[in-house]
């Protein structure tokens, strides 16, 4: 683990002592006691701060909103900061090719990687948002298609957003936030709702400044009561030509490798397929352009029924030598229930080979409940193939080969 610690870059939260007026608001606001002070300065303890951003808006001065990328082991200590007269400059990083986890980005718990694959493209994050120079970007809805048959309790849409003249660079696996208009019952603006980007880096349509997201609105809860998710309903009901407010991009670790003969193992449920669509489509375009440098694609895709699988139609058109697809349907009439972990177990020898392959990268995206099932299946597959799961998991995390994005 020491290798990981040495190469992990953190975005260290600092307070500008030249602008801070020592009003104590941040310390009083911080929910986890990460801020402290002496007679000279207010400072943030890097070992405690979880970048929740609660302290940012109450600060009257703006001094609170300063960040420096540093190697975790070289983070500025509380004692150092307490003596500062001014902020240090952003230094050169010893490991510049390592992506920094950004605020608001979860690392996927203790098993998932917190860094991007070495050959991943460099992501850009937080270009638009409350702590960026511009609070949001404007995008125009240029497409809104239903991608599943509408069920009685769900409705999934593929939505294409065009950014016009605005630079909103994304990579496959990143996400963005949508600010729904209006206020909630307490009279405050809605939180940004985060969506994975479903299109590849060069646009939903290559060369256009657009991208796509997959939005599912749930119409009924488990008890059959009607429910209305604010942002998802807003988006599903959006008309072509409508303008929406977008924040982000978010995410700097759930990114695909780009080196020759790197393999993708994509495990997802429902709208968790969005990043998998982006990655698959990027590689398909390379293949189509004759520049594909090889690598296997394996997709494990779970849903309740075929009708609920977004992009099921287009998926079937991909050649089997390019991608192997394993569907798991949990509520298809007249068929036994299957979950993604079941079809993974059915492919155990293949997955065991891939888990041990340093060029195979695993991506898990979907409902939180699937995460445990998938990890258990991986552990079982290891046990059955003379692999030490603890060792494999540690290696995969260290090498950024296992990425978890569940909600």
């Amino acid at each position: 683990m020491s290798d990981l610690a040495e190469t992990t870059v953190i975005n260290q939260h600092l307070i500008d002592p030249e602008i801070c007026i020592r009003c104590n608001t941040c310390e009083a606001t911080c929910p986890i006691g990460a801020i402290t002070h002496n007679d000279l300065n207010y400072v943030v303890d890097a070992s405690k701060c979880n970048s929740c951003m609660d302290c940012i808006s109450p600060c009257p001065t703006g001094s609170i909103d300063n960040w420096r990328q540093v190697l975790r082991e070289q983070a500025y200590s509380v004692d150092d900061q307490l003596t500062w007269d001014e902020l240090p400059e952003q230094g050169e990083l010893a490991a510049p090719d390592v992506a920094a986890p950004s605020p608001n980005t979860s690392g996927g718990g203790s098993v998932g990687a917190t860094i991007a694959p070495k050959s991943a493209a460099q992501p850009q994050t937080l270009l638009f948002g409350p702590s960026a120079a511009t609070p949001y970007a404007r995008a125009t809805v240029v497409g809104n298609h239903r991608v599943t048959d509408v069920g009685h309790d769900y409705d999934t849409h593929h939505i294409v957003l065009d950014f016009g003249e605005t630079h909103f660079p994304v990579l496959e696996g990143q996400s963005l936030g949508i600010l729904a208009p209006g206020v909630d019952a307490a009279g405050r603006p809605h939180h940004a709702r985060q969506y994975s980007i479903a299109s590849p880096r060069h646009g939903e349509r290559p060369g256009y400044n657009n991208l796509s997201i997959t939005v599912k609105r749930v119409l009924e809860d488990h008890a059959g009561n009607p429910v209305r998710g604010v942002a998802s309903n807003y988006l599903c009901d959006a008309a072509v030509g409508d303008t929406v407010q977008v924040v982000g991009p978010f995410g700097s670790s759930f990114l695909m490798p780009n080196h020759a003969n790197s393999h993708l193992v994509m495990i997802c449920t429902g709208t968790g397929s969005a990043p998998m669509r982006g990655m698959t489509e990027w590689r398909r375009r390379l293949l189509h352009a004759g520049t594909y440098e090889g690598g296997e694609l394996h997709l494990f895709f779970g849903a309740r029924s075929k009708a609920e699988l977004p992009y099921f139609g287009p998926l079937k058109k991909l050649p089997s030598e390019f991608i192997t697809t394993h569907l798991a349907l949990s509520r298809e009439p007249d068929q036994p229930k299957q979950y993604v972990q079941d079809v993974m177990r059915a492919q155990a020898p293949e997955l065991a080979r891939l888990m041990a392959d340093p060029h195979a990268y695993f991506y898990v995206c979907g409902l939180k409940a699937m995460e445990e099932g998938v990890l258990t299946a991986m552990a079982d597959i290891c046990a059955a193939h003379q692999l030490d799961w603890a060792q494999v998991a540690g290696d995969m995390k260290r090498d950024a080969r296992l990425h978890l994005e569940t909600y």
Binding site: E18, I19, I21, C23, T25, P60, G62, A133, R188
Partner: protein
């Protein structure tokens, strides 16, 4: 006015819509408040859209909503910090008992007095500052002034809420009186002296927000300890807003110093006349303004020995600053505290029972906090290579309350004769000439991104907006 839905119009977390009595009381008070705002609120601001921060809830997300609004339509919310279950009283004779959600009958008069005194300062400062918009040094500063004005208005709402909710008819009468008194009015003045002084220019405004709003911070902090839980929760939230006011003062003075230092370096002079001719405020004048505002403000803490202060503490109405961080018994019956007195041509300390000296305790905490900010101003001078340092005057200088009243103490702490003090007062306090000079610099600059010659631009804009953002839209 009964058609107004107050639970919608006034963001609140006190279930305003469910309390019909309170709703009726506020329905009667609200038009008077708006009428007060129209009469005596910021002059010439009626049609402007101002980039204001509005609190719509007490959590970090709802805390700071920014947008252009007309001040008259500002959503004056009523917010209490969330209640802590089973909160107990931390000090005084009731220490360890459960905090009160209602006013105990025996403390009703004292609590009302505390709330009215605090509440009275809020509209008072709006009145004191009402002409400043006409001489703003920039659009950015104008916006900051307006932000302070609406938040003082919101703080008035916070106190009026407590009066209406917990003090019945007396409370309603007091709430009405808060709109009737006027800063500086000979017949019906505001309660505290410093709130009847005028705020004639922007240097006074910055000094006022640095020093006098800091008094507000310490008074509010002492009230956040109160056994009367609604008062504690209300003032806790107000403190977060008060921080902005002190920021305006601290950064305003700092930018003034920065600009003066810049011109001193450009002209390579510390000659007062040359600097004044160059249109910046010389450092000795800044020092005199500082002496004045500091000494007037520390009087606000009251007499150094006060039986009222002892009563307020022992009965749990008002604690000390950061009561929870002190490691004494929080009852203080056997403790003493040194207070300063003038005696035999000198100053000496006298140990008095701490309970009676609690005004002095709060004043000393305040002084420590004030000095720290002045040292930050000095860093601006040090950084510019100017060999001049501003100093907070001695605690006994220019005092008009308590044992040090009329003690003829210099800013350095030396006791002099009455004649000498009067003869030299012009060295220490702003003269009419100083004030006239500062006033002469106060021309209105409100083109986005432009600043008056006497003040440097800020390090950053509001809410990360650019400095040249149109913070105020004149319609």
């Amino acid at each position: 006015m009964s058609g107004i839905n107050y639970s919608e119009k006034i963001p609140n977390n006190v279930n305003l819509g469910e309390d019909r009595t309170l709703q009726r009381a506020l329905e009667q008070w609200q038009p008077n408040f708006v009428s007060w705002w129209d009469d005596i609120g910021p002059e010439g601001s009626t049609d402007s859209d101002v980039y204001l921060r509005t609190a719509v809830s007490v959590d970090p997300q709802g805390w700071a909503q920014f947008g252009h609004v007309k001040m008259r339509d500002y959503r004056w919310g009523i917010f209490l910090n969330p209640a802590k279950e089973e909160r107990t009283i931390d000090f005084g004779d009731h220490k360890g008992e459960k905090a009160w959600t209602d006013v105990p009958g025996e403390y009703r008069a004292n609590l009302r007095r505390i709330i009215v005194t605090q509440g009275d300062t809020e509209p008072a400062s709006v009145e004191q500052q009402r002409h400043l918009g006409l001489t703003a040094p920039s659009m950015y500063d104008l916006r900051n002034l307006y932000q302070i004005n609406v938040e003082e208005g919101r703080h008035l709402w916070a106190m009026v809420y407590l009066l209406h909710k917990h003090f019945g008819r007396d409370g309603r009468e007091e709430a009405d009186a808060l709109l009737e008194r006027r800063s500086g009015d000979e017949d019906n003045p505001r309660i505290l002296g410093a709130f009847n002084e005028t705020t004639p220019d922007w240097l006074s405004f910055f000094m006022f927000t640095y020093f006098t709003d800091r008094d507000g911070k310490f008074q509010l902090a002492a009230l956040t300890e109160s056994a009367f839980d609604p008062l504690a929760r209300t003032t806790k939230f107000m403190l977060t807003e008060e921080a902005h006011h002190m920021f305006v003062g601290e950064s305003g003075v700092s930018r003034t110093i920065q600009r003066t230092a810049q011109v001193m370096n450009e002209l390579k002079t510390d000659d007062v006349n040359k600097l004044r001719a160059a249109g910046v405020i010389d450092l000795p004048t800044l020092q005199r303004y500082l002496n004045f505002h500091f000494s007037v403000t520390i009087d606000l803490f009251g007499a150094d020995e006060s039986s009222n202060a002892a009563t307020f503490y022992s009965t749990g109405l008002k604690g000390r600053y950061e009561e929870g961080k002190r490691d004494d018994d929080h009852v203080l019956k056997d403790k003493t505290y040194p207070v300063l007195i003038a005696k035999d041509g000198g100053l000496e300390t006298k140990e008095v029972p701490m309970l009676n000296a609690l005004n002095e305790v709060l004043r000393d905490d305040y002084i420590k906090d004030s000095v720290a900010g002045v040292e930050r101003w000095n860093k601006v001078l040090t950084k510019a290579g100017i060999p001049f340092q501003l100093r907070v005057p001695h605690k006994a200088f220019n005092r008009n309350i308590g044992a040090l009243k009329g003690a003829n103490v210099t800013p350095a702490g030396e006791v002099v004769s009455d004649a000498e003090w009067k003869g030299r007062a012009g060295e220490w306090l702003p003269s009419n000439e100083d004030r006239a000079f500062v006033a002469s610099l106060m021309g209105r600059v409100v083109e986005p991104g432009k600043f008056a010659n006497w003040i440097a631009p800020p390090a950053m804009g509001v809410n990360r907006m650019p400095i040249e953002f149109d913070y105020v839209r004149f319609n």
